[in-house]
Symmetry: C2
Subunit: 138 residues, 2 copies
DNA sequence: CAGGATCCGTTTCGATACTG
DNA sequence: CAGTATCGAAACGGATCCTG
C-alpha cells in the first residue's frame, strides 16, 4: 500500500487532454446529441443515427454524470422518462464540439447541414452563446 | 457471416464528427504530440508520457497517413529516422486541439503549463497561426 | 539503434436478450 | 422507457523478432 508515486514524468510538459471524454467515440456522439442536437432522453440517444448499444449508452451516461458533465432528472411531465442535461462543465465543451463539427464538415465528405455550418463559421461565439442560453444552467 | 443490414438510418441531421480521429485515445495523443509538443519521430511519440505500445503506435500512424492527416519522410540528416509531419488537413485540427487543451486545463486538475495556457487563452488565433507557420506546409 | 511487424495472454468493448 | 446480464469479438500491452 505504501507503493509510492507512479512517476510517469517521462516527459516535460503534460498538456493534458481529457481522454475520458475525447478518447471515446460514443461519449463524443452523446455530447453532440445532447448539446448540438438538443436530444434529452435515453431513447432519443438510442435512435439518433448511429446505433449505440443500450449497455454502452447506459455506461457512458453514467460516466458523464460521474464526471459532472451531465445531470439526470426524472421528467416532471412523464415520470418514466429521464432527461439528461449538460452542466456548466459540459457546456464548456461546446467550443470543442463546434470545432470538431467544422473540421469534419470541411474535410469529410459527409452530408452536413449547410445552414448550421455556415452559421457556426460566421459567428462561432454567437452560436455558442445561443446554445448556452438555451440550456440555462441553474 | 451475413452480418449485413446495418440499418443505416439516414437520420435527419447528421452533424458528423470525425470519429476515426476523435473517437480514439491514442490518435488524439499522437496529434497533440505532433502539433502541440512538436514531436516528430516514432521514438519520441513512444517516450512521450503515456506509454503506448509499439504496435498500437504503428497502427495509428498508418491510419493517420491513410487519412491524409500526417505524412512520413526519412530524415535527411539521419536516414534511420522517420519524421512525421502534419498535412494541411492535419493542421486544420489545431483549433480542436487547442479547445480540448483549454477545456482540460480548466476542468481537470492536471498540472498544466500555465504560460502556454495563458497564451492560448489570450490569443487563440495568433497561437494557432504561429504553429501553422512553424510547420510550413509545402 | 530506429521503425515496425508478429505473436499471444488479458482486458475491455459492444451486440443481443432480457428485466424493472 | 430505462437499464442490466451475458458472452463472443476486438483492442490492448508486452515481449520478441526483423530489417536497414
Amino acid at each position: 500500500m505504501t507503493r509510492n508515486a507512479p512517476i510517469r514524468r517521462r516527459s516535460d510538459c503534460p498538456l493534458s487532454i481529457g481522454l475520458e471524454i475525447f478518447g471515446d467515440k460514443w461519449t463524443l456522439l452523446i455530447l453532440r446529441d445532447l448539446m448540438l442536437k438538443k436530444l434529452q432522453t435515453f431513447k432519443q440517444f438510442q435512435d439518433s443515427g448511429e446505433s449505440i448499444a443500450t449497455n454502452v449508452l447506459s455506461d457512458r451516461l453514467e460516466r458523464l454524470q460521474k464526471q459532472g458533465i451531465v445531470t439526470a432528472a426524472r421528467s416532471s411531465v412523464d415520470a418514466r422518462v429521464v432527461t439528461y442535461h449538460p452542466t456548466a462543465k459540459g457546456l464548456d465543451l461546446l467550443p470543442v464540439l463546434v470545432e470538431i463539427v467544422l473540421w469534419s464538415a470541411r474535410h469529410e465528405k459527409t452530408a452536413a447541414p449547410p445552414k448550421l455550418i455556415e452559421k457556426m463559421t460566421r459567428d462561432k461565439e454567437g452560436f455558442i452563446q445561443e446554445l448556452r442560453g438555451r440550456f440555462s444552467v441553474s
